[in-house]
Amino acid sequence: MTFVYAAALAVAILAVAPFVAHLLQRRRADERDFPPARLVPPSQPVARRRRRIDDRALYAVRTVAVLALALLGATPFARCSSLALGREGGASIALAIVLDDSLSMLAEVEQKTRWDRALRAADELVEGAREGDAVGVVLAGAPPRIALAATTDLAAARSVVRSLSASHRATDLEGALELAQSLVHGLPQTDRRMVLLSDLADGHPDGPPLGESSETPLWVPLTDLAQPAANCAVLRADRQRDRATIRVACFPAAESRRRSIEIYAGDKVVGRTPLPDEAGGVDVGVDLAGASGDLEARITGKDAIRADDVAPVLATTGGLSIAIIADPAGAKLVTGGAPPVEQALAALELDVRLRPLPLLPDRLEDLAGFAGMVIEDPPGFTPEARRSLAAWTDRGGVVLLALGPHAPLAPLGANFEPLVPGSITWGPSPSPGLDDKASVLFGSAAAGLVDFRPRGRATVDLNALGGAVQVSARWKDGAPWLIERPLGRGFVFILTVPTSPDESDLALRPAFLLLLDRLVDATRTRNGAYRITVGEAWSFEGAKSLEVVGPEKAQLRVTEEGTRKVVVPDRIGAYDITLDRDKLTRIVAASEKEVDGRPRKVSPGSQSSSLGDTRARVDLSPYLAIGLLALLVSELALRLRARRTPPLDAERASPAS
């Protein structure tokens, strides 16, 4: 700022001059002696009111005029500040804007969220783009998404940017930058840029600096957003009878001091426990003392992000539950413990609740609590069990049926319908091992089954299964080893060997774990996971109708991918799902790593002034000059009006008054 600019701005001090003049004009009248003063009626309010009305309008006009004059004199300095790209030689630019729409961007800075700042910056960048520039937009909330493919239609880009909204997703900056780079790669513009508008808190503060190995130059303009935000979040809240287990994460650890987790039933607090003084995720137990109704876990106090301070408390029985039905005698291990299939599922830690059952329930109500089922070497199903099983699979139940030596020993009236229609035989395998080329489902793990030698194998009548059947793995002689069959909205895996160690060593092979993972994945897909992390999708295979209402009572958009319906929630909280007239409640939880507010480092070149800056690009002087002219006209009009307005005495004297 030069002396001239400063002097021009100093003129603004004269804005008080009209006020001083106003005070002088409104000073108290000189007091003078007048013996008959008591005979004179006071008329002070009338006089002052009239003067106040006139003076106020003129005063405002004159004050603004002086300010406008001062700014007009200083317009080389006083310009509207906005984000702008640097250009070398005026060439067109291919610009990929990476906009972070993660949860941490909801932290407030000076009464505005980081998201608002970033969105405004993106809007300014698009506004500053010229004809011939290409603009693409990538959202960095996990998983990264392309909001706008690179386009030279700047109006469309502007419209897309202004329609974006924040989410509660985790952050994936690296993935977003890869997407952004792919957006501008191959475009005709030789000058390509990526602009990252983020707080850089992606949960990997020690990761390599962003933009270090990028071919496309990266510019990170909003460095002031990269300040660690103190925050505590409720990640999960499960209820088990009279106790709730709340998973909480705080950053930094000191943020948890003097804060507590409270359980609310409506407006009433039914449980309270102070937060432990630890950073990162930690489970906190809260006694509920028989509380009933809808419960909600809240963290006391305030922090940078309020959206993650609340979570619904739901019974864990509502989670993804899989029943294990195995004969304890036949599927036991020499070392003892649960059957191998149950132990393997528990070892995978797939956030699945396992429940061993001695028998297949006969009633549909008993099956309704399970999303999946593993049935080990059953001797057929009774008619009652078949009826309930058919209804259950029709509503989305997923079954892994491992056929074994008991299969042909079904008693009278029992068979394997509706899972496996037709006859089933059991006998020694004429050809040991699987055909790895016909078992691509398992990938490299299929090689481990080449020398698979069970004591026997079941044979299934494929023709009786219908046309939708898929054989996912075969024996070397071509017989099916694993059959996948959709049934209603549900799904059936038919394995022609049992998992019992007495019959084979299948439980020891890697492909077995892949099979179980596939089972759980199908179960989630068919039923929709009970709890997912924000940004993940609910996929409902075979659903005829689907309606999802979010925590803000807004209905989510459902997309169809083949025979499945997919919904991607981007807000944490409880969702009400109506799936083929079935009412479900599902939870979307915050990502634990999103709580870590430490920013990721960026390469030094990412803040180079050659990429762009926040210097002014808009000269205000024409607008100020027009404004000043308008003010002068206003003053003239006010003066003219005041001259035409009859004096108060004349108004009183007129007959109309």
Partner: protein, 307 residues
């Protein structure tokens, strides 16, 4: 709040002694004939003759007309004294922007002139005060020294006091006259009449009982008569603590109406009792005011004699 003592702004009226004498001499020349044309004494009625009565007062015409001996009775002219009550309260110290002197100075000039006229006729003159400081009431006296004493008392006085708060002031001035003034005494009140207590008019009117003659001379400044202010003004009364902020143009008419109301009230009441009311401005010619005052009083007598 105590009213400050104010010295008299005599303006162009000083020296009072000479101005009053010159003024009285001018007025006397005009009033002399009027005074001497009448009998100089007041006719008191007839009564039947009793032996021992002075035969000079036998009414011969009545004897011829009614065939009765009747004696004419007269009141002696030495009973016609002049009592001046002069207002020396704080408000009388006011002198407007264009006035030659303060209201008190003008009133004192009128008082001095009236006193000299009366004294020249041989009538005794007394002086009473309403308010004021360093004031000296003078009993009715005549002779060559009287005029000097009256003028001396007027010159040594200072204005002070709020008559609306000083209930004893009326008693002090009016009470003395009520007790001592005889029938036929002329009582002249010189005041602005603005800040007098509400009962002042009734009390003054009561002095007119018993054959006394009342004359009230309202002395006002030209500013008080015209209210020459413009725009918003703050006006402070000299008596009391009232301060009024007003729009001069908006309230002028109301003020003048109230001022005239006071004059009308005094005039009506005094006229009803046979008294007289004269309004004077300090900008007026004092000779004219004295002449009007003397004429008013003389007219009262002429009317009484004729009637």
């Amino acid at each position: 709040m105590a009213t400050p003592l104010r010295s008299i702004d005599w303006g162009s009226i000083a020296p009072l002694r000479l101005r009053a004498r010159a003024l009285a001499d001018g007025v006397y020349a005009g009033a002399h004939r009027s005074l001497r044309r009448g009998p100089g004494v007041e006719f008191g009625g007839h009564r039947e003759y009793v032996p021992g009565d002075d035969l000079r007062w036998l009414d011969h015409r009545a004897l011829l007309r009614h065939d009765k001996l009747l004696v004419r009775e007269f009141e002696t002219e030495t009973d016609r004294g002049l009592r001046i009550i002069i207002d020396a309260s704080a408000s009388m110290a006011f002198r407007g922007s264009k006035a030659p002197a303060s209201k008190f100075a003008f009133a004192a000039l009128l008082a001095g002139a009236l006193a000299r006229i009366a004294l020249a006729s041989g009538d005794p003159v007394g002086l009473e005060w309403l308010g004021g400081a360093a004031v000296r009431p003078l009993p009715a006296m005549s002779g060559r020294e009287a005029f000097e004493r009256v003028v001396g008392a007027l010159e040594s006085a200072a204005t002070s006091g709020d008559l609306r708060l000083d209930a004893a002031a009326l008693d002090q001035a009016f009470g003395a006259i009520a007790r001592r003034a005889k029938r036929g005494t002329i009582i002249v009140l010189l005041s602005d009449l603005i800040d007098l207590p509400d009962e002042a008019l009734d009390r003054f009117a009561a002095l007119g009982l018993g054959g006394r003659v009342l004359l009230a001379v309202q002395v006002l400044d030209q500013d008080e008569l015209t209210f020459p202010f413009h725009g918003t003004v703050r006006l402070r009364a000299l008596e009391g603590a009232s301060v009024v902020e007003t729009d001069a143009e908006a309230t002028r008419e109301q003020y003048l109406a109230k001022l005239d109301g006071i004059a009308d009230e005094w005039s009506a009441k005094l006229t009803y009792l046979g008294g007289q009311f004269v309004r004077a401005s300090t900008s007026d010619d004092p000779a004219e005011i004295v002449r009007r005052s003397v004429s008013a009083v003389a007219g009262r007598f002429t009317h009484g004699i004729d009637g």
